[in-house]
C-alpha cells in the first residue's frame, strides 16, 4: 500500500482514510517524512513561517475541568488567577518594549463562571484600541459556544460581536479529538466535536479565519486521529477557512490522564500524516512548546512549514509538564529555521509575509 500512497502523493492525488491509517501504523518514518516534506515544499516552497507574538491567558478559572488540563482551576482554588484589562494592556506594553513590534496576541482563557460576555469583549476592544496594529487571535470554539449560551445570542451574533470588538482570527484549540467516546473520557464537560465544527463553520461563513488543532497521545487510537483529520479536511473543502493545522502533543504531568509523553517518532509521524491528509489546509505548525525546540526543528523537515512564534509567556502546556522554554527570541527562531535549511518568513496573523530573514 505504501507504493500506492507514494504514487498518489507524487501525482498530487488525495489519500483516503484507509491509507492514512496505514501510514499511522507504518514503521516507515523516513519514507512518510520525505513524502510530507515534498508536499510541504510544493505548498510553501522552502519557507518556514513564524510570527512575533505573545500569549495571554486572562484567567485559568474554568467551569470545564478537562482531565488532560493542568492549567484550569476552580474559583477560590489555590493557583487560580484573573487578569484585569489593565494587567493585560500592561503585559502587552512590556512585550512591545522588550522585543520588537509584536504582530499578534493569542488569547485563550478559561470559562469563568462570573465573567459576562461583555467582560471578554471588553478585553478585546481595549487591546484593539491601545494596539490597533496588533492582530488579535482570540477565543476557541469552546469559548465562543460558552459566550453564546451565556448571552443568549445565536452563534452568528456572538461571532459578529467578537469580530466587531476586534477579533481577527480564532485559534484552533478545544478540538482535542473529535470522537465522542474519547471526549467522554478526557473532557466530558467540553462541547462535542460536532459543536466545535459547527462553531468553526459559522465563523468561516462570517469571514473569520481560524486554525485547527488535534490533541493526540492520550487515550485515542490512530483510527480516532484519522477520523479527526478527515472531518477537518471535509469542512475545509466546504469553507476554506482554516489557515493552519496544529497537532498538539499530549503533556502528561499534573493532570489526570497518566500516560507517557508521545514519542518523538510519533510526533514526527503525526505531523507528516497531517500534512499528507490535509492537502487543503495551507499551513501545518510545529508547536515547539509541546514538542520541545529541538524536535520542532526536525518537524520542519517532516511536513511542518510554520513554527509557533516567540510566545513569551506560555502557561497552559507548561502547567502540564512541557519541558520547553516559556518563550524564544526572534534570533533563535530565525537561527532554527536557517539551520534546517529553510527560509525564515516572518508573517502577520493572516500569513502575509512581513519580512524574509535573509543574511
Amino acid at each position: 500500500m505504501l507504493a500506492q500512497i507514494e504514487r498518489k502523493i507524487v501525482n498530487g492525488e488525495r489519500i483516503n482514510e484507509e491509507e492514512a491509517l496505514f501510514l499511522f501504523n507504518s514503521d516507515e518514518i523516513h519514507i512518510i517524512g520525505q513524502l510530507a516534506d515534498e508536499v510541504s515544499k510544493r505548498i510553501n516552497h522552502n519557507r518556514v513561517y513564524f510570527i512575533v507574538n505573545r500569549h495571554i491567558n486572562p484567567t485559568n478559572i474554568c467551569i470545564n475541568r478537562c482531565r488532560f488540563c493542568a492549567f484550569s482551576r476552580s474559583k477560590g482554588e489555590p493557583g487560580a488567577y484573573e487578569m484585569s484589562i489593565e494587567d493585560i494592556i500592561q503585559r502587552l506594553k512590556e512585550a512591545e518594549q522588550s522585543s520588537q513590534h509584536i504582530s499578534e496576541v493569542h488569547i485563550v482563557s478559561g470559562l469563568h463562571p462570573e465573567w459576562s460576555f461583555e467582560d471578554y469583549l471588553n478585553i478585546i476592544s481595549a487591546i484593539k484600541k491601545e494596539f490597533p496594529s496588533i492582530g488579535i487571535k482570540a477565543f476557541t470554539a469552546v469559548e465562543v459556544d460558552y459566550f453564546a449560551r451565556l448571552s443568549g445570542l445565536t452563534l452568528e451574533q456572538t461571532l459578529l460581536r467578537l469580530k466587531e470588538a476586534g477579533v481577527d482570527i480564532m485559534p484552533g484549540g478545544g478540538a482535542e479529538i473529535f470522537n465522542q467516546d474519547v471526549r467522554n473520557r478526557i473532557c466530558p464537560e467540553k462541547i462535542s466535536g460536532e459543536r466545535w465544527l459547527e462553531v468553526i463553520k459559522t465563523a468561516h461563513a462570517l469571514g473569520i479565519k481560524t486554525n485547527a488543532t488535534m490533541l493526540y497521545g492520550h487515550l485515542e487510537s490512530y483510527e480516532h486521529r484519522v477520523e479527526h483529520l478527515f472531518r477537518l479536511r471535509s469542512l475545509q473543502d466546504e469553507t476554506e477557512g482554516f489557515l493552519a493545522f496544529i497537532p498538539l502533543s499530549y503533556q502528561p504531568e499534573n493532570n489526570d490522564i497518566k500516560v507517557p509523553y508521545p514519542s518523538g517518532i510519533d510526533d514526527l509521524k503525526t505531523i507528516a500524516v497531517s500534512r499528507l491528509v490535509l492537502d487543503n489546509i495551507p499551513h501545518v505548525k510545529a508547536y515547539w512548546i509541546m514538542l520541545g525546540e529541538k524536535l520542532a526543528q526536525v518537524a520542519l523537515l517532516f511536513g511542518a512549514d510554520c513554527l509557533e512564534g516567540t510566545v513569551i509567556d506560555e502557561k497552559v502546556a507548561h502547567f502540564a509538564g512541557a519541558r520547553s522554554k516559556h518563550g524564544v527570541s526572534v534570533y533563535e527562531l530565525v537561527h532554527t529555521i536557517k539551520e534546517a535549511g529553510r527560509i525564515p518568513a516572518e508573517r502577520d496573523t493572516f500569513y502575509n509575509i512581513l519580512r524574509i530573514w535573509q543574511d
Binding site: D27, I29, H30, I31, G33, Q34, D37, P260, Y261, P262, S263, G264, I265, D266, D267, L268, L291, G292, K294, L295, Q297, V298, L301, R323, E332, H335, T336, E339, A340, G341
Partner: protein, 347 residues
C-alpha cells in the same frame, strides 16, 4: 554495504537529506541489531575532582586550584555515592576528573583499591587526558600507568577527552589538552592490554564537516587495528557558561537536525563499532527516541548524577522508569546492560 570513504562521508554531510541519513543508518542498525533491542546502563557519573589544568574553552566544569568551588572528593563522599548507585541497581560508576596536577598515581591507585575493597561495582574511569598526564607526571610509560591502574581495579576506560580528533580544532579550543595522536595512543595501549573503552565525539563548536569525518576516520582505523571500542557516542557542544561562548557570542548549540545527521553518519561510517549511543542528556528524550531511527541502538545511562553537561547549561533529567518507557514507546525492547553491552535483564 561498501565502506564509506572520507570524501564520500564529507559529501554526504554537505548534501544528503535527513531522510537519506535516516534510511541508511536505520538499515545498518537493523543489520547489526536485528532484534529491536535498545540497551541502557544504570550508572552514575562521579567527578572525583573539578580542578583541571587543561582549561578547555568549551568546558564550564573546570575550576582552578584556588577557586572557592574547587574540590577533590573525599573517600566518605565517594563511598556514599557508590552506595547510592548500588542501591538503585547500578552496575557501573563513570569516574572522571579534572586533570588535577596535585594528584599522582598513588592517589588513583588508592582510590581504585578503596572502591574495589568495599564495593562490587564496575569502574569505568579516567579518560586519556588523565592517563596521559599521569604518565608525564610519574615518568612512566602509558602502558605502565595503565597496567598499574588495572591492577588496582580499573575495569574499562570512557571515551571522553576526544572532543574532535582534529588538531586544528583542538589547537583552538583545547590547546593544553593532549592532541589527537596522544588520545589515540592511550586508547591503543589500553586495547592492547585487553581493556575495552568507548569513544566519544563532541561536535558543533569550531569544527567543520571535514573535522567530524576526520574524527570518525581516526576511530574507525584504530578500531580496525584493535577492536577495543565497545561503543561510539557523539554529542553536541553545549555553549552556555563556556569561555568559547564568551569569545564567540554568536555560537549556538548545534540543532537536532545536525545531531541526527552526525549520529546517522557515525552509524554508517563506523561499520566496525557495534554500538552507537544517543545522548539524551544533551538532546532531550524526544530527539533521543528519534535517534533510535537514525542509527543508535543504545540509550546510554540513567546518569543518576551528571555534572559536566549541567555546568554548560543543559539539564535534561530522566528517571529510570521514564527511560524504559521512552525506549518502549519508540518501538524498541528496553534491556539493562553492563559496561560490555552484555544484556543483564529485559524490562
Amino acid at each position: 554495504m561498501a565502506r564509506l570513504n572520507k570524501s564520500e562521508a564529507i559529501q554526504m554531510l554537505k548534501e544528503a537529506s535527513i531522510f537519506e541519513f535516516g534510511k541508511t543508518a536505520d538499515t545498518v542498525r537493523k543489520t547489526l541489531h536485528p532484534q529491536g533491542i535498545v540497551t541502557f546502563i544504570v550508572d552514575r557519573n562521579i567527578n572525583y575532582t573539578n580542578i583541571c589544568i587543561n582549561y578547555c574553552l568549551f568546558c564550564a566544569f573546570w575550576r582552578t586550584k584556588d577557586h572557592p568551588e574547587a574540590y577533590v572528593i573525599s573517600k566518605q563522599e565517594l563511598a556514599r555515592k557508590i552506595e547510592e548507585t548500588i542501591d538503585q541497581g547500578g552496575t557501573q560508576i563513570l569516574l572522571q576528573g579534572g586533570v588535577n596536577p596535585d594528584l599522582g598515581l598513588d592517589f588513583y591507585i588508592e582510590m581504585l583499591r578503596f572502591i574495589k575493597e568495599n564495593f562490587k561495582i564496575h569502574v569505568h574511569g579516567f579518560s586519556p587526558p588523565e592517563i596521559y598526564f599521569l604518565s608525564q607526571k610519574e615518568g612512566l610509560s602509558i602502558r605502565e600507568i595503565l597496567k598499574r591502574l588495572m591492577d588496582a581495579g580499573l575495569d574499562s576506560i570512557p571515551g571522553g577527552g576526544a572532543e574532535i580528533l582534529s588538531d586544528r580544532v583542538r589547537m583552538r579550543q583545547s590547546p593544553n589538552k593532549i592532541n589527537s595522536k596522544q588520545w589515540l595512543d592511550v586508547m591503543r595501549e589500553a586495547h592492547v592490554l585487553g581493556m575495552k573503552s568507548s569513544a566519544t565525539m563532541m561536535f558543533g563548536s569550531l569544527d567543520e564537516d571535514e573535522d567530524v569525518v576526520e574524527h570518525l576516520e581516526a576511530v574507525r582505523s584504530l578500531q580496525d587495528e584493535t577492536g577495543g571500542f565497545t561503543a561510539f557516542i557523539p554529542w553536541s557542544f553545549q555553549p552556555w557558561n563556556t569561555d568559547l561562548k564568551k569569545e564567540k557570542s554568536e555560537l549556538m548549540p548545534a540543532g537536532a537536525i545536525k545531531y541526527l545527521k552526525v549520529l546517522a553518519l557515525s552509524r554508517i561510517y563506523l561499520d566496525n563499532v557495534k554500538n552507537i549511543q544517543v545522548s539524551w542528556v544533551t538532546q532531550g528524550v524526544k530527539i533521543a527516541q528519534v535517534g533510535l531511527r537514525f542509527g543508535a541502538n543504545d540509550f546510554g545511562s540513567t546518569m543518576l548524577e551528571e555534572n559536566v553537561v549541567k555546568a554548560a547549561g543543559v539539564c535534561y533529567r530522566v528517571s529510570m522508569d521514564e527511560l524504559i518507557q521512552a525506549i518502549r514507546s519508540a518501538g524498541f525492547k528496553p534491556c539493562q546492560r553492563d559496561t560490555f553491552y552484555n544484556i543483564l535483564k529485559f524490562l
